[in-house]
Each structure stands twice: as C-alpha cells, then as structure tokens.
C-alpha cells in the first residue's frame, strides 16, 4: 500500500509524467499560497471520489460508469467550492472559475477510471493521497518560483501575512513581472519538466 502512495507522488505524477490537469497548474500558481490552496482542494476531491467509487465499484453498472463518476466528482467539487467560499473567501475569489473546473480535470476522472474502479477502498485512498500530494507539491513549487521571481516575496497570505522578503527592497521594486503574468507559467513548467526529464533519464 505504501508503494501505491509513493507511485502516486513520483511515477504517476499527474503533471510532470502524465501531463494532465495542466490548466489549474498554470493558471493559479502566481503565488505559493494559491498553488497550495488549489492543490489541497483537488486532493480533497480526489481522495473522496476515489473512496466512494472504489466502495461502490461492484454496484456501478459498467456502461453507465463515466456519467456516474462525473456526478460523484461534481458533488465533491461543489462541496469544496462552497466550503472555500464560506471560510476563505479571498482564496475562493483568486482561484475563481478553476475550483468548479476541477470537475473536468482529466486527472481525477483518469484515476477513477484507471485505478479506483478496480481496487479496494484502502488502495484507492492511498492512490488519492499520493496523486493529490504529488499534484500539490508541483503547484506549490511552481507558485514558489513564480512568486519569488515575480514579486520578491514568498508565502504571502492576503490579509494575514505579508510574506517573507527573499531578495530585499531593491528587488521587490523591480521584480521580473513576467513570471506572474501568463507566459511565466508556461516557462516555469517547461523548465521544471526539463529538469525532471534530465534526472529521470539518468
């Protein structure tokens, strides 16, 4: 079971290996906090949809399984959407349309179809945790890179914490704004994938 968990983080890493679920990865990682929030929201949906689907896998009819998966996933997405709106309204505004769009994240449907549907709930839970953690780590790393280069600070939490000053005042005033604009997202993920490939090949 711990094998499933570790495979989920590295061997089956949604973004670096399978290259799915790219939209939220690029869109919300303008800061480490947003990346973390998005990663945790997707992890929550992934864990519960995996658990439910695996628990009911013997009852779900084969030819109706995709619509059923979608309804189960959409239910948990709605739960996350409204929870965030109630407790962290600012984060909810920042992540915007990408929270309801978790429902079409091919990663989650892919794990439901490819793993949870033919494994017991214990394994499905570990897979959800592993895949979710792998996804969250990448989002957090991307958010970190883009926030530090783009704004010169790290881990700013709006309204609570003004962030660690990484490079000092002079840099903050003339930071690489490109990194928090959309093209910076493409560049960051390209380089992350390149570095990952470099190590995987060895």
């Amino acid at each position: 079971m711990s094998r499933t968990f570790i495979d989920g983080i590295i061997k089956n890493n949604l973004i670096l290996v399978l290259a799915i679920g790219l939209c939220p990865t690029l869109a919300v990682t303008t800061s480490a906090y947003n990346g973390l929030g998005m990663g945790l929201a997707a992890t929550f949906v992934l864990i519960f949809s995996n658990l439910i689907i695996s628990a009911f896998r013997n009852i779900i009819p084969d030819n109706l399984r995709i619509p059923i998966f979608i309804v189960i996933i959409a239910t948990f997405v709605t739960v996350v959407d409204y929870t965030l709106k109630a407790y962290v309204p600012f984060l909810s505004v920042q992540l915007g349309v990408f929270i309801p769009l978790i429902v079409v994240n091919c990663g989650i449907l892919g794990r439901a179809e490819g793993f949870a549907y033919d494994h017991s709930p214990g394994y499905a839970l570990m897979d959800g945790l592993g895949i979710g953690l792998g996804f969250t780590i990448i989002l957090f790393v991307m958010g970190t890179i883009r926030e530090i280069l783009g704004q010169g600070i790290w881990l700013k939490i709006p309204g609570m914490f003004s962030g660690f000053k990484v490079f000092g005042e002079a840099f903050t005033n003339s930071s690489v704004i490109l990194m928090i604009l959309p093209p910076g997202g493409f560049l960051t993920i390209a380089l992350l994938m390149g570095i990952f490939n470099l190590f995987r090949r060895k």
């Binding site: 939209c23 769009l101 429902v103 079409v104 604009l181 093209p183 493409f186 390209a190």
Partner: protein, 195 residues
C-alpha cells in the same frame, strides 16, 4: 454594439482563452503536433462551445435561478455538456458522415475540455446576456482556433530543430507557448487584462 466588439476583441486576442486564461490546455498540447489534427479540433471546439453556451445559458436563467438551485450548476452543466457531445457524435455519424469523419474522433475529447465548461461559467460570472454570451463563446472559440493553429505550425517546424534531449516533446512546446503568450501580451495595450 461597441460593447459586443469589446467582448470579441477581449476574448479573441487580449484575454485569449489558451494563452492568457489557461483554459483547454489538454487538447491544446494533446492534438497540436500536426496541423491536420489541430485545425479540426479548433473547429469542433467553436461548434460545441457555441451550442453548449446557448443551452447552459437558458438552463441557468430559466431553470436553475427560478428554482433556487444555483448550487447544482457544476453537476448540471457538466452533464449537459457530456450529453450534448454524445448526441452530436451520434447525429453526425448518422446524418452528416463528412462532418463526422472530420470532427468525429475529437468530439469525445471535448467533454473533458475545460474551455467549454469554463466559458459557460465565465458567462454567468460576468452576468452576460444571451447575445453577449454568444459573442463571447464564438470569439473564445476563434481564439482557441487561432492559438492551436499557431502552435501546430510551430511544432511542425520544431520537429527538425536541434533541441536538448530533456526538452524534447512537451517542454519545448511550453516554451513556444510562452513566447506566443509574450507576443499576445502586446495586445493588452488595447484594454487591461482581466484574469
């Protein structure tokens, strides 16, 4: 009139659905390695996006809002889009085989294309009326076609270029997309980015 033109310009160029809003990246990178798959995918997206916008708009305004069921919109929209795509596939297969052979294999992929669902949500978040929604959907689709055509032709060229081993395939396409995005940022002089 003015307003509609602004919506068109914003959705087509300034806030391009792929390069600025990051919606629909899976098909954008998935089928863009050749032009003969990139263009039909773009066409199918325009078509489905327009139809799904009309349907979800009416459903939202005349069913979900009056019945106070707004919290069900995620579930309802995705089911509507999935069934619409399924229906179109069957309809084309039976009635318009030429169109089916052009778009057929791309239609199932569109269900999980977040651009379609994303545009449906954005229309509601922006409080667009029916006409504005339609213009927004069509110009977003055109923006998708523009972006996927551009990246398709760049990737065809890239095949013969000397690229470091670890950047081959997806990473170099991301870099190309980043450069395209930079060029598109130039359009933001027309009006502000609304991300």
């Amino acid at each position: 009139m003015d307003n509609l033109f602004l919506i068109f310009l914003s959705a087509f160029l300034v806030n391009n659905i792929i390069l600025m809003r990051f919606l629909g990246l899976c098909p954008f990178f998935g089928v863009s390695s050749r032009m003969e798959t990139a263009v039909p995918m773009g066409m199918s997206v325009i078509f489905v996006m327009t139809l799904s916008t009309i349907i979800t708009w009416f459903l939202y305004q005349f069913v979900l809002v009056p019945l106070d069921l707004i919290y069900l919109r995620t579930v309802v929209f995705i089911l509507v889009i999935a069934s619409l795509v399924q229906f179109l596939e069957l309809f084309f297969k039976k009635q318009i085989p030429a169109l089916y052979s052009a778009m057929g294999i791309f239609l199932p992929l569109i269900t999980t294309n977040c651009a379609i669902l994303g545009v449906a949500f954005l229309n509601i978040d922006n409080n667009f009326g029916l006409l504005s929604s339609l213009v927004f959907a069509i110009s977003s689709g055109l923006g998708f076609l523009l972006a996927i055509t551009l990246i398709g032709s760049i990737r065809e060229r890239l095949e013969n270029a000397p690229i470091p081993d670890s950047l081959k395939g997806l990473p170099i396409s991301f870099i190309a997309a980043a450069l395209m995005g930079l060029a598109f940022l130039g359009f933001s002089g027309f009006m502000g980015l609304s991300l």
